[in-house]
Symmetry: C2
Subunit: 150 residues, 2 copies
């Protein structure tokens, strides 16, 4: 992939990642380590909750989204470095979902104090194989400017 600098980014640019197949084992392993709640761990108990069945931790969806963006979604020259983000989970992520990420550049602002970098605001939507939007992440990323030719 071509590695992009801040100078290469424009509002409206879009990127699409590869995909990740999620299964029950992955959901329960992540939940055991980081979000040990019944609706992420126990199929039967999950049915009686707001989720109505086993669902992945939102932080698991966020972590998979990061992996997809790092590996194939967002080819930023200095890597993906978040200063902060807003995250929403409009629908649960389920066992059997095949996830991919569609990203769009929203805003590009060179830093005034640090001429070698700036902030790009990028919204990344994580969808399953049916097109359900499972997560909307609006991230402020630190992106380097293209080094001057020497």
């Amino acid at each position: 992939m071509t590695q992009l600098y801040l100078d290469d980014l424009r509002p409206g640019q879009t990127f699409v990642s590869g995909s990740h197949a999620l299964d029950e084992g992955q959901i329960k392993a992540f939940a055991s380590a980081f979000d040990p709640q019944a609706f992420h761990l126990d199929d039967h108990a999950a049915k009686a909750t707001l989720f109505g069945g086993l669902a992945a931790s939102g932080w698991h969806t966020a972590a998979i989204t990061m992996r997809l963006n790092v590996e194939s979604g967002l080819p930023l020259a200095n890597g993906i470095i978040g200063a902060g983000a807003e995250i929403q989970w409009p629908a649960p992520t389920r066992p059997g979902d095949i996830l991919h990420v569609e990203s769009e550049v929203i805003d590009v602002v060179p830093s005034r104090s640090r001429p070698e970098r700036g902030i790009a605001t990028i919204v990344s939507r994580t969808l399953n194989q049916r097109g359900d939007i499972l997560q909307i992440l609006t991230a402020r990323l630190v992106v380097h400017r293209r080094p001057a030719a020497t």
Copy 2:
């Protein structure tokens, strides 16, 4: 822990979690699975980056924050269910950091359409043993109302 319902929450209430000791092995394992970038995986390569040394993925800090809040930080009766959140990482999380979470209720809004629940906005600050704030998470949580006595 007493399990709290929406009716029990008031702006200004605070909660403090237990702690989690983070080491290099955990940082690299999480990064290998979900955020495979040099500054989270390779001590030497990390020195030349914006982080100036090995740092945990922000999503790892978020996942540890969730675990601490689930296990000891936020005793909500129906569990911790996020509708969405804003997240900032003001400083890197490093190997050797001992993390804990300090949370404060900011706002409590009963649902108009669903009388059995509402939304609590809770800010959770993740700190290390020196008091550095590593993450600020402002989460909108779905919280059940206390069931009517029968």
